[in-house]
Symmetry: C2
Subunit: 478 residues, 2 copies
C-alpha cells in the first residue's frame, strides 16, 4: 500500500520547475537512489538495464568497426599523469587522490582515473614497435571519477560509468578518419537507438579536451532549451606519442610517432533520454533501449480465463518484444500510472470483453493513442507499432529542437533571444577567443560547436563585427 | 619479424618451474601486460575476451535465477565501513584511502571498495520497508581494490574485476537457500563452461568471510597441486541487517530484520583456466569460453584457390563456431605455435591437396589428434569435436585432481604426503581452532573446506586425536 500511495502524488510539471521535474522522474521511475557518498549515485536495476542496452548496442558497433575491449588499472601514478602538460592542467584540479594503502603512506600518490589517456599511452609505448602492430583499436568500459563541486544524477556526478576508446595509428590521416568514424557511430546511435537528433561539429579551441589537437562533439537539445554535450571524439595528433615516446618502425625502417584518438560516451546519455522524451507523466523510453517494451495489464483479472489469456499473450509476444505482465494485486489504473512513469513504450490491456471479441487494446506511451488489434495479428502489429513509436519520438524531438533553434546577427539580439526563449542560437563568429569569452560573460552561453553543416547567417562576427570565420551553435549547457 | 622471433623462444616447462611457466604463458598468450601501477595488471584484448565470455555466461544464469544488475559507488565513507565490527576488522588493513579531492583535504576519508556489503546495506535500509519489497536479488559487475603486499596477475592483484551478488530475504531459510543456489550456479559454471571440477563445501570459522555467519566455497586444484578458492557464497544471517537497521514490516505487521547473502567470482578464474588446462605449449582453452574456437590456417596459401576456399570455410563455419582465419604472411608452422600458445581449441588446415580431396585436417589443441573431415560435413563435425574436447578437458582435469588427492590419518602422514606430492589432503578434524592453526604452522596448508560430501577417513582428529567432527579438504592455497 505504501508503494501505491507514492504514485498518487503527481510529479512536478516540467513547465513549472524543470529541475524538480527531472529529480522527481529519476526517483519515481526507480532509476537511481542517492548514496551516502557525496555526488555519487546508486544506479538501480531499471536505470542500469537502460545502460546495459546502451552498452550492448554500442559494443556491437565498436566490434563491427574493428575495436577490442581491454581493462586498464583504475589508478594513475602522479608522475604518469604529469607527462602531458595540457592534459594534466585540465584534469589535476578535479581528481581524487589515494595517499594511503592500508596503514601505509604511499611513496607516490595515485589518482583515481578521470580518463585513461596516460595509461593507454604508457601501454602503447610498451607494445607498439613496428608498423605491423598498428592500428591499435582499443576500448574500455569502466567508471571514472572527477571531483565536481555540484552534481546531479546522470548529468554530472563524482563517479560515472562510460566507455573510452583509445586508438593508435600510423598516419595523421588514419587518426583523423577514426575520429570522425567514431563521431558518426555516436550520432547514428543517438538518432537510431535513443531517438535523439544531434548536431555534429568541432569544438572551439577554448572548449576542446585537455591535450587534444581537435575535439569533435555531438550536441543535443533538452526540453528546457539547454544543450547537452552527448559524446566527444578527440584527435590527439602525435602530442601524447611525443610525451610518452610511442614510436614505431615504418616499412622503410624509419622511426615514427603514432597518431592517436580517444572518444567516449557516458551514463549522461540516460539524462538526455529523460530530458528529451519525458513528459508530465514521467519517463518516455525509446523502444530500442527500453528494458520493457510492452507491459501486459490484465483487466478484471479475477474473471475466469483473463490471467490465462494474458499469460499466453506474454509467452507469444516474448519472441518479438521485451514483455512483462503485471498481475500484482493493484488496481489497473495504478498499474497504468506506474508503467507510464517508467516510460514503458506500449501497454496491452486485455479483459473479459476483449477476449470475447478476440482483440486487445494497445496504448502508446507517447501519444496515448488506443489501438484495437485482433489477437491473431499481435506478432506483426506489436513490432510495427514499436517501430512507428521509435520513429515518432525522433521526429517529435527533431521538431522540438528546430522550434528552439534561433538565429542572431548581433550580441544584443543573441542575448534577448536566449533569455526569452532558451535554445540553440546559430550566430557567426570571427574565431577570436576574446569574442567567445565576451558572449559567455554576457549571456552565460558557450560555443557548443562549429557544425559540419555550415550556414551563413551574416558575414560578420556577431560580437566584434569583424569578418566571420564560422557559423557556431551556441547555447547554455548542462 | 620481431613478433615471430618472440615465438621461437620456448616457454619454461611446467615441471621445471611452474611459477615461471605461468608468467611465460600469460605474457606470450597476450593475456596481460604489466602496468606502471604496482600490483595492477592490464588485461589485454585476448584476456579480456575470455572475461567477457565468462560474464556473458554467468550474467545469463544470474538473470535466469531472478537477479538484477545495479551499480553502487566505488567509494565507501570510513564511517560506513566501520558499521559492522567483524567486517571492518577483516578489510580495513587492506584498503586504499582517498584523502584528497582536487586540492582539498576531505573531511572524511573514503576507501575504494574492497567489497560492497556496506553500500548495499545502506541502500537496502533505504528501499526496504515491507515484505512486499522482498526478496531483493541484486548483482554488480565492477572492479574492487585490496592493498595486497605480493601480487600475481589474475591470482592476486591490488585491483581485480569481479561480480558481487547481494541479496536480502524475509527469512533465514530463504537466505540459506539462496547461498546454496548461487554456490551451485558457480560449481555448474566451473564444470560446464570452464571444464574445472570443484569441491563444494563450507569454510571453517577461521577461513570464513569477515562478517559472515557461514561461508561456502568451491575449491579447485591446479596442476602444481595447489588449491585455488574459485568462488564463495556467504550467508550473513541478520548481522548486517542489525548493524545497518534493515527492517521490514511483515504480513502480520511485525517489524523484522532481513537476512542477507553475498557471493562472488573474480578474474582469478582466468588464472584457474591457465593452471588447470595449460601445458608446455601454452594455454589450452575450453571451447565454451574460448574467444576463438577454431582457427583456419591456409597451407600453401599463394597457390590458386587456397585463400578463396579458406575464406569460404570461414564464412560457412562462423554460423557454428567462433572462427578466425590466419592469412598473415608467416609460415604455417609459426602460426600453429602461435595459436597453440593462445590455446585455440581447434585448428583447421586446408591446402591444395585437401581441396583436391574435398577434405580438411582438424587438429585438436588438447590431444594434437589429427582428424580428416570431408568439407561437406564440417558444419556438424566442428561443433561435435568442440563438444568432445570440452568434455575431455573436464575428464582430464578430474583425473588429474583425483590423482593428486590423498588421505592422511595423522599429522605426520599429512606432512610427509603434502611435501612429497602436493595436492588435496582429506583428513579428519575435531573442529578446534588450535588444531587448524597447528596444521598451518607445521605444513603451511590450510583447511580449504568441509565438503558437503563427507567421508570417514578415521574417527579421530589427525592432529589432537580427539573424536573427529568433520572430514576436511586441506591444501596449500594460492
Amino acid at each position: 500500500m505504501a508503494q501505491e500511495k507514492k504514485l498518487v502524488e503527481a510529479i512536478t510539471s516540467m513547465n513549472e520547475d524543470f529541475t524538480q521535474w527531472y529529480t522527481d522522474v529519476i526517483k519515481k521511475a526507480d532509476l537511481v537512489d542517492y548514496s551516502s557518498v557525496r555526488g555519487c549515485m546508486i544506479i538501480r536495476p531499471y536505470g542500469y538495464a537502460i545502460w546495459e542496452n546502451i552498452q550492448k548496442y554500442l559494443d556491437a558497433r565498436f566490434k563491427e568497426t574493428g575495436h577490442e575491449n581491454v581493462y586498464m588499472p583504475m589508478f594513475i601514478p602522479e608522475s604518469l599523469l604529469l607527462k602531458e602538460k595540457e592534459h594534466v592542467e585540465g584534469f589535476a584540479p578535479e581528481v581524487a587522490w589515494v595517499t594511503h594503502g592500508g596503514d601505509e603512506k604511499l611513496a607516490e600518490r595515485l589518482c583515481v582515473r578521470p580518463t585513461s589517456e596516460t595509461l593507454f599511452c604508457d601501454h602503447y609505448a610498451n607494445i607498439i614497435q613496428s608498423y605491423r602492430d598498428l592500428p591499435k583499436l582499443y576500448n574500455q568500459w569502466c567508471s571514472v571519477v572527477r571531483w565536481e563541486k555540484t552534481t546531479r544524477p546522470f548529468l554530472r556526478t563524482l563517479e560515472f560509468l562510460w566507455q573510452e576508446g583509445h586508438t593508435a595509428h600510423a598516419t595523421a590521416d588514419e587518426a583523423q578518419q577514426e575520429t570522425i568514424t567514431m563521431l558518426n557511430v555516436y550520432a547514428d546511435f543517438c538518432e537510431k537507438a535513443l531517438a535523439i537528433p544531434v548536431i555534429k561539429g568541432k569544438k572551439t579551441e577554448k572548449e576542446k579536451f585537455a591535450g587534444a589537437k581537435s575535439t569533435y562533439t555531438i550536441e543535443s537539445l533538452m526540453h528546457d532549451g539547454k544543450a547537452l554535450q552527448s559524446g566527444t571524439s578527440h584527435n590527439f595528433g602525435d602530442g601524447f606519442a611525443r610525451a610518452f615516446g610511442i614510436q614505431y618502425t615504418g616499412k622503410e625502417n624509419q622511426l615514427q610517432y603514432v597518431h592517436q584518438t580517444s572518444w567516449g560516451v557516458t551514463t549522461r546519455l540516460i539524462g538526455a533520454i529523460i530530458m528529451v522524451h519525458g513528459d508530465d507523466s514521467g519517463l518516455v523510453l525509446p523502444p530500442v533501449i527500453a528494458p520493457v517494451q510492452l507491459v501486459i495489464v490484465p483487466v478484471q483479472m479475477h474473471k475466469e480465463g483473463v490471467l490465462e489469456k494474458a499469460g499466453e499473450l506474454k509467452q507469444r509476444l516474448s519472441c518479438v518484444a521485451r514483455v512483462i505482465m503485471d498481475d500484482s494485486d493493484k488496481m489497473p489504473g495504478w498499474k497504468f500510472s506506474e508503467h507510464e512513469m517508467k516510460g514503458v513504450p506500449l501497454r496491452l490491456e486485455v479483459g473479459p470483453k476483449d477476449i470475447e471479441k478476440n482483440q486487445v487494446v494497445l496504448v502508446r506511451r507517447d501519444t496515448r493513442e488506443k489501438i484495437f488489434v485482433s489477437m491473431d495479428e499481435l506478432e506483426t502489429k506489436v513490432p510495427q507499432i514499436l517501430e512507428e513509436l521509435q520513429n515518432a519520438l525522433l521526429e517529435r524531438a527533431r521538431e522540438m529542437r528546430d522550434k528552439k533553434t534561433f538565429k542572431a546577427e548581433t550580441l544584443d539580439e543573441f542575448e534577448r533571444t536566449i533569455n526569452e526563449t532558451p535554445g540553440f542560437i546559430k550566430a557567426m563568429w570571427c574565431g577570436d577567443r576574446a569574442c567567445e569569452d565576451a558572449v559567455k560573460e554576457r549571456t552565460s552561453a558557450t560555443a557548443r560547436c562549429i557544425p559540419f553543416e555550415q550556414e551563413t547567417i551574416s558575414d560578420k562576427c556577431m560580437c566584434c563585427g569583424k569578418p566571420a570565420k564560422h557559423m557556431v551553435y551556441w547555447g547554455k549547457a548542462y
